[in-house]
């Protein structure tokens, strides 16, 4: 940076009249300074993100040999073809379904709450936002184990059901348990962008809508919801993308019958020692997420 500053001084000394050359040089110096500032981040991303990603990409075209190793020769699309097999396909479908369901539930629970938040006075609002954030202060793993206790045999949930006379119920190791855990874990990611988006909407739009004969519901459908769409899209992507690849929650709360993508990828790498399939699946998953993000930015989600 020091270099560029002296460079500029030098340019200024040369002549007092501003010329297009001077302007161009100044712009170049400006962009060079920006690049130097971003350099550490670039270096980090290349070493720890781009390179590993490239390795995964390369491995997805490799072949698993008989000893569980990976031969980096004889490149083929076998690993991708495997993704079409019923077992894998079912896992993908189940994961997508669960992620969609999770997104829908979070949206249904999160929207009214975000609206409630946005319409409180500042003090109440801040307290409530902190309450939404508090779960983040506890370890994710610990929180999932807590649900295991709550949902397990003789756990709180089961006891409540028994108490109100519905008989003992056990949800642990079912899709329901996974669903509860996912909604619990991802709800804040839905609430915060929704809140940010709803909070920014001027009250007068809603008043104008009511003044123009819209009922409360119509005002929501025709004015509030469309105007808060950036928040809806942002929240949905923030919930959908990570829950599609969720690993910890399904692993702790789900049973063997509910294997999801995350667990399957781990199994491929560690247990089955089939790195190409694990790699290809990871890559497809990432492509889906990438697509979702493009949709998000297209939808004008600059305001997160």
């Amino acid at each position: 940076m020091l270099v560029t500053i002296t460079e500029r001084d030098h340019l200024e000394e040369e002549g007092s009249v501003v010329t297009p050359e001077f302007e161009k040089a100044a712009e170049r110096a400006e962009s060079r300074r920006g690049f130097f500032l971003a350099l550490p981040a670039y270096a980090y991303l290349i070493v720890f993100f781009a390179l590993p990603l490239a390795i995964v990409f390369v491995y997805s075209f490799a072949t698993r040999n008989r000893f569980g190793g990976t031969d980096l020769s004889g490149w083929n699309l076998e690993a991708y073809r495997k993704l079409g097999e019923p077992i894998v396909r079912n896992i993908i479908l189940r994961s997508v379904w669960l992620a969609l369901l999770n997104t829908a539930i979070c949206l249904a629970l999160g929207y009214p709450f975000a609206y409630y938040l946005a319409t409180r006075r500042p003090l109440v609002r801040n307290v409530l936002i902190i309450l939404v954030m508090i779960p983040f202060w506890a370890n994710f793993l610990v929180r999932n184990y807590a649900w295991r206790v709550l949902l397990g045999k003789d756990g709180f949930v089961s006891n409540v059901f028994e108490f109100v006379g519905l008989g003992s119920r056990e949800y642990l190791f079912t899709s329901t348990a996974v669903m509860i855990g996912l909604v619990y874990g991802f709800l804040p990611f839905m609430v915060l962008p929704l809140y940010a988006s709803v909070e920014r909407i001027d009250d007068s739009y809603l008043e104008a809508s009511r003044d123009l004969y819209a009922s409360g519901w119509q005002t929501f459908r025709k004015v509030l919801l469309p105007l808060s769409m950036p928040g809806v899209v942002a929240g949905s992507i923030l919930v959908f993308v990570p829950s599609l690849g969720a690993y910890v929650t399904p692993e702790i709360l789900g049973g063997a019958k509910t294997t999801l993508l995350g667990s399957y990828i781990v199994t491929q790498f560690l247990t089955a020692r089939n790195w190409p399939v694990g790699a290809s699946l990871s890559f497809v998953l990432m492509a889906v997420m990438g697509a979702a993000l493009i949709v998000y930015f297209r939808k004008g989600g600059r305001n997160l």
């Binding site: 001027d202 007068s204 003044d211 819209a214």
Partner: protein, 353 residues
């Protein structure tokens, strides 16, 4: 004839602040009525109560004879032009204007016709497909008007609709609004803090301060016969000379000088003499005709305004402003001259403190 809006004993309390305090007001059908006052005087709250955006703490509110005080805004036959227009940013001009009709389930064919008619009324042809953020402030203002008027409301409420426009455009729109109101024949209730705007546009004005309606009258009544110091001061330029009422036609000013001024205030009560700058004139001392009231002073400032000249005259205890037409070539008193300010008896009025 039923009144367009009939407000009886309306009070609006926010926590322990009375935004509007037991107000009575009747607005006639077809009237252009302005609610005028400084910010925070309760005028906007009053308008919002008529719209249904705020519910009165108590009192009765009738629109064309029907009690509406407890109805939500979508159940009232009124529409509002909001201060910042509040045009829906995700809808085109056409969609914005059609919104109210769609919500009322007006048949599609009729909607198209009425929207086209409204667009023509405010001269926005060719801009139907624009989004609000692609339009100038003046155009947005027209869209907001069309969006409200297309519903044929019984009363149109306007909340400082010209506040966001620059001076030139504002003056244009003042006239346009007035013409529009005559054309559609709908009762307009207009909120403003700009006294000039209120005087220019309205049939009648209600002046408010601290949640109270102080005076209701035609622009002329309010300008010529303000009820108290606040109204006199708020409407137009004025000199207010404090004093005490001595009899029904004498006021004793603060410096002990007595002047002739009719008033119906109680003898002995504190009052002020309201003298508009353009109603007085300045003369060299000792040259005042009989039959005129006068006060002596010294000329302390002359402000040249082109079409008129303002003389600031220092009296013993306060200073007065006198505004005269500018007659080129006429000899003018100089700063420092001993002069007399005079006015025709009856040119000023006595107002309560």
């Amino acid at each position: 004839m039923t009144a367009a809006v009939e407000i009886t004993g309306i009070t609006k309390r926010f926590d322990d602040v009375f935004a509007v305090d037991s107000m009575d007001l009747t607005i006639d059908d077809g009237e252009f009525f302005a609610l005028l006052g400084p910010s925070g005087c309760g005028k906007t709250t009053t308008l919002r109560m008529i719209a249904g955006l705020e519910f009165p703490t108590m009192g009765s509110l009738k629109i064309f004879g029907d009690e509406v005080g407890t109805l939500p805004p979508n159940k009232r036959p009124v529409n509002t032009v909001f201060q910042n227009y509040a045009l829906f940013p995700h809808m085109s001009v056409e969609q914005n204007i059609a919104f109210g009709l769609k919500m009322q389930k007006v048949p599609r064919r009729q909607i198209a016709d009425r929207v086209a008619e409204a667009i023509k009324l405010v001269r926005l042809e060719t801009l139907e497909r624009r989004k609000p953020d692609q339009m100038s402030g003046g155009q947005q203002q027209r869209v907001a008007l069309a969006r409200a008027l297309v519903n044929h409301p019984k009363v149109l409420l306007l909340d400082e609709p010209l506040g966001a426009l620059d001076l030139k455009l504002r003056q244009e729109m003042q006239l346009e609004l007035k013409h529009l109101q005559r054309e559609v024949g709908i009762t307009f209730v207009f909120v403003t803090h700009d006294q000039e705007e209120a005087l220019t546009m309205s049939d009648r004005i209600g002046v408010m301060n601290h949640g109270e309606l102080l005076q209701v009258g035609t622009p002329e009544e309010i300008y010529e016969h303000p009820v108290n110091r606040f109204v006199a001061d708020f409407i137009g330029q004025t000199n207010l000379l404090a004093g005490t009422v001595e009899s029904s036609d004498t006021l004793c000013l603060a410096n002990g000088v007595r002047i002739h001024a009719d008033s119906d205030l109680e003898v002995g009560s504190r009052a002020a003499f309201c003298l508009r700058p353009e109603r007085a004139s300045v003369h060299p001392q000792g040259t005042v005709d009989g039959g005129r009231e006068s006060l002596d002073g010294r000329l302390s400032e002359v402000t040249y305004l082109g079409n008129s000249i303002i003389y600031t005259v220092a009296l013993d205890w306060m200073s007065l402003e006198v505004r005269t037409e500018n007659h080129p070539g006429e000899e003018r008193p100089q700063v420092g001259d001993e002069i007399t300010v005079s006015w025709r008896s009856g040119a000023g009025s006595v107002v309560a403190e």
